[in-house]
Amino acid sequence: MEYLQTPVNNLASYNPREDEREKASNGYLMSVIAVMAGLPLPIINLLASVLFFLLNRKATYYVKWHCTQALLSQVTIFFMNSVAFGWTVKILTGNAPLTNTYLGYLFTIIIFNVTEIILNISAAISVRKGHHKEWWFWGALTNLLIKPGKR
């Protein structure tokens, strides 16, 4: 479905339509659900976010921006979880010892995963209300990747 829309240059002052709010909010919710479903296998949550991002690649700037921010946070968590996954398999098969360094890493990524879930839920709620939510680091990265356009 095509929409006629004026160029969006400032997301903070932009008032998104109802369908945009819903789609952008779903981008974050998709991440939360996928993280919960895919925690043991780090690839699942990333795949879910990539899929949602691809489905919305032709959406408006507002929707695309938030889907990208959700995806980028997922990519970061994916790399952290993948290291933990590989390390755990090595320990389970006796190829690596169980050390404080490993357990320290495990608890660190638990902190980051939980933080990411909280951030996602908070962003999903804010975006649903029409408020723009720009995260530290991921927000700046998204601004670099997604430029405002006519859509």
Binding site: L41, L92, T93, G94, G104, F137
Partner: protein, 264 residues
């Protein structure tokens, strides 16, 4: 861009700081996890033996066990390998195969013993499997297989994962480099133990040339590629000198008879 780079450095820095900070805490002591790896491996090893035992009948003849143990001890002691870490089991199975499982377990099928013309051939096969264990090939394959099977584990199919990993391990699909490494180690082990390594090469030739058309042999050859090249390598590495007999004729004949005609 500069702002982004600074934010990235702060983000990565805080991650490493939290990690290094948490790593200072004595988690392993708190969780009583010092012996986790050893316990886990033992448990895993028991599961595999149990699973294999469900499909195959093991040879329980004490004299057979003693003869095979003699070969194992000869190889291990001479090469400073802890004999307690290697366990050999003989199973009644028509497939010409021998392979290693996690936990230093070597499974030898009776059909393979039937193919051996002398005890040195069997010693060659055992030395080859010990070579895989000592080179850590089993652990490397386990990492791969388990990683691939984790999806099944989370699907609730615990028996399925064991079966899949067992099937893969028993298929003997080591890569070419690993096979060469195990062969090289086997020749070294045999020579150090004063066992003639040349029959090991003869074993490859025998399987390839004499019976290459039977399905059982084809199965073995398909999982152990380049048998001809491997026989050449073994001959190249072997020193030609007189070797004492590994077993007495009576012991060897007893082993062959007991494994080919169980309950004789």
């Amino acid at each position: 861009m500069k702002k982004l780079a600074i934010q990235f450095i702060v983000f990565a820095g805080s991650f490493f700081l939290i990690w290094m900070g948490l790593a200072q805490l004595p988690w392993t002591k708190w969780l009583h996890a010092q012996n986790f790896s050893a316990k886990r491996q033992k448990a895993m090893s028991d599961v595999f033996i149990k699973a294999y035992g469900l499909k195959n009948r093991s040879i329980s003849d004490e004299s057979v066990k003693k003869i095979v143990d003699t070969i194992k001890r000869r190889i291990c002691i001479s090469n400073k390998i802890d004999t307690a870490t290697i366990h050999i089991y003989i199973y009644q199975n028509p497939e010409i195969n021998a392979y290693s499982l996690p936990g230093g377990n070597i499974m030898v099928n009776t059909a393979l013993i039937a193919q051996c013309s002398n005890p040195e051939m069997l010693a060659g096969v055992i030395a080859h499997e010990i070579g895989h264990i000592e080179s850590g090939h089993i652990k490397k394959r386990m990492v791969k297989e388990i990683a691939l099977s984790v999806a099944m584990l989370f699907g609730g199919d615990n028996l399925g994962i064991i079966k899949t990993v067992l099937k893969e391990l028993s298929s003997g699909k080591f890569d070419r480099t690993q096979e060469t490494e195990a062969d090289t180690k086997a020749v070294q082990y045999l020579m150090t133990a004063g066992i003639n390594p040349l029959p090991m090469a003869d074993f490859f030739d025998k399987l390839q040339h004499s019976h290459g058309d039977t399905p059982e042999i084809l199965e073995w050859l398909s999982t152990h590629p380049n048998s001809k090249e491997r026989a050449i390598l073994i001959r190249k590495l072997s020193s030609r000198r007189p070797y004492p007999a590994l077993l007495s004729d009576s012991s060897w004949h007893y082993l062959r008879k007991a494994t080919t005609n169980p309950g004789f």
